[in-house]
Symmetry: C4
């Protein structure tokens, strides 16, 4: 396996909108997107494997296993003018070369589905403390999108200059290159490892943007669930770190 690949089932989607929520700052984007998948009961239809992901197989509690991946889900609802595609995953690539290759592949796959609009979700860390009322910051090139985001409560004019690292930025750039409407939506976060509060703020904005009616009240519940989920992930990655390889590897 020398190249990333996407294994998928064919699904017919109405000019879908892509929502990208991969691991990152405060795990905000990943949390928000996972919540969406759960609440919308979205269906998995495509899996991205990559030699740029860690060489890890995750053993699941039922005694089975799966190779680490990024996964695409779809959600169809006739009330919405667009179907949704939601991307979540275990890891992002660790190298520049991997990031450029994988995120470009994500955009090309989404384009092949007829997609023309993308929202990447992430966290934006302002300070080293918990943010009780997180603002949601935005980045976009399109005037129309800019106005739409502002109406949904997104704040612009952040810092004089800001770096968006990883998929939240790269998918943005590659989708823009493909002439899609794109925006990155970042929840303010105070360097928590898992910030459900910030994820909630991002979901509130996203619901307005997409016309979704999502039950966001039990975010406390989500917070507990995700903290449990993250603890499991941490345990898994701890056990991964325990692995002892010959001197060469360490």
């Amino acid at each position: 396996m020398n190249e990333s690949k996407i294994v998928y089932k064919k699904v017919s989607l109405r000019s879908p909108i892509l929502i990208v929520g991969l691991p990152g700052i405060g795990n905000v984007g990943n949390l928000a997107a996972q919540y969406l998948v759960q609440k919308l009961n979205a269906k998995e239809f495509a899996t991205l494997y990559s030699p740029h992901f860690p060489y890890i197989v995750i053993a699941t509690p039922d005694g089975s296993f799966r190779l680490v991946s990024n996964r695409f889900y779809y959600y169809k609802n006739k009330k919405l003018s667009h179907d949704l595609v939601i991307l979540i995953g275990d890891y992002q690539p660790a190298s520049s070369e991997g990031q450029y290759e994988v995120n470009d592949k994500i955009v090309r796959f989404f384009k092949s589905l007829g997609g023309k609009e993308v929202y990447t979700l992430g966290g934006y860390s302002t300070e080293d403390r918990y943010v009780p009322n997180p603002r949601v910051f935005g980045v976009t090139k399109s005037k129309a999108m800019h106005e739409k985001l502002e109406k949904a409560g997104v704040v612009f004019n952040i810092a004089p200059s800001l770096s968006i690292v990883g998929a939240a930025g790269m998918v943005l750039a590659f989708a823009d290159e493909q002439h899609m409407q794109v925006a990155c939506i970042m929840g303010e976060t105070g360097m928590l490892e898992v910030d459900a509060n910030s994820a909630k703020s991002v979901l509130e904005v996203l619901s307005k943007l997409l016309g979704l009616d999502i039950d966001l009240k039990d975010m406390n519940n989500l917070q507990k669930e995700t903290e449990k989920f993250i603890k499991e992930l941490e345990q898994a990655s701890k056990s991964a770190q325990h692995e002892e390889f010959p001197n060469y590897i360490k």
Copy 2:
């Protein structure tokens, strides 16, 4: 040499079963597989070289040398319904890209031999102390294999979530993708660098699974042998670490 390659002699094998025991946690898998090769007097028939292995040539005590590699052995016995292929080696690749490439190559080569069943051996570190009566944990996707493993004494339902790093996991995933019957068998280990006790537990399970009649009583002997072997390896890797390269490399 830009790609991994397998140099091999043609051998005719009856729908062989692959046993993978490469360096890893507690060196459990490697020890167990090396013991198998010795006791079964298995014959080397294929060697895997890779630019993802360290750039090391091992000088042997007789004044000769060999490039680091992974090596395939076969064992034929008419009493068994399947021939065996056993994979051991000096190192695993150190990078993600290397792990995906090499382990995929291993599975494809084994498939070309007509193989349909794979056991990867490894260690599973539970705590930072010696485990006198190591359990053997398992991971598999197939119900039939699950039952077979349980009968052989394998324990499932390990931690809520666990990462299997390297060949023990990657070969599992790639062989499963090729529709093979696969299982990973991990001996509980307490972070010893060489855990012959854990390797013995793994071999006991494996003997039952494969219907092998292996003399496991002199595992104490193995323990001594392997400790000697490992000390040699350590000396070799120490001398490797002593190498002084120009500043750039360090």
Copy 3:
């Protein structure tokens, strides 16, 4: 995106001269080249993207964004015998493979524009203190260029042996391989992160070499501007460093 690429508008240039000023020691080359672009009101006409650059999108203060890049500007002036092409950028590649690929691409692109002469700008750190009257050191293979540089005040016979790391050296070597006239011009600098004083010295030499009439008096102004610019960059890179990735990445 597996390869570096240059996206460009066609422009007709009279046997252009390339000036390379990318981030490096004391940011001398980058400062000098950015100043040139500003003062000459040079026009951007080509952008180099590379999977060897960091996986970062820069959010701009106006709420928009751009993928990190190197950028080519041109300057036409009938008073000069040559048009100018100026290369500035956000980053240099971080790996050897990236440096060899990207800098070779830069030279080939410039050659396709009909270019035959190259000046790379950089800093040369002598000591760990501020240098009030920085000398300008030079490196070249051509006798004619050597004399020309000496007339412009460039000092040769630096240290017994010196390494020029990154684009300032690599573009030099690749352009020389293409039979271009090349020189590297380095301003003495005392390990400041941003040394506008050294950049000014480099610009003074470059102006003489190219017959440019550039207002260098308000370098104090530049110093302030660039310090502001650099602070923004630092803030951006700090925020980039804050990004939290899963264990695997850090």
Copy 4:
């Protein structure tokens, strides 16, 4: 430049013998080979460039420069039954992939010259102190070569197991794969950065093996020369380390 390449002048050589002396432990191999080049007045005829070498251009004291490289020299002498090819260089590749690619290329190039015999030179560090009377250790696969080496004073049966890292080992393995007669000759060294004493021992053995009549008495002179040379190299690499890159690179 995505691949290593060898730029060469055609020379006609009588079944040449390759001597490889690249930077490594105690710089023994590099010192010995450089001394040979000097004393034999061997002629440079081929240069190997590689994207796996550091991205460094070396500025020379005369104001010129050159890209880092490995360089082939030849020596013809009708008194000898074979012509010699000597390989020296600034650096070895820093990655596994680079080592496998570059050393394979070296062997293929030498094969294209009609070569069938290779000696790689290196250091073998025994302890952390100066070795006044260094032994010379050897590694080879061929019985004939083994005897030849022993007659020349080479000691076998070193440690129970030893790793030879880098070109001294890799060229050995690749040349053996090409059915050449190969040996690695290592001077005992006590972790000096530059061990001319050990290099002298290696040269004494090599002279016997090749029937060379080299003035080895002024090795004290060499020691001084090389220490000066190394100090220059160190200065160059120090200045390289001083280079300040943007945050991403460090």
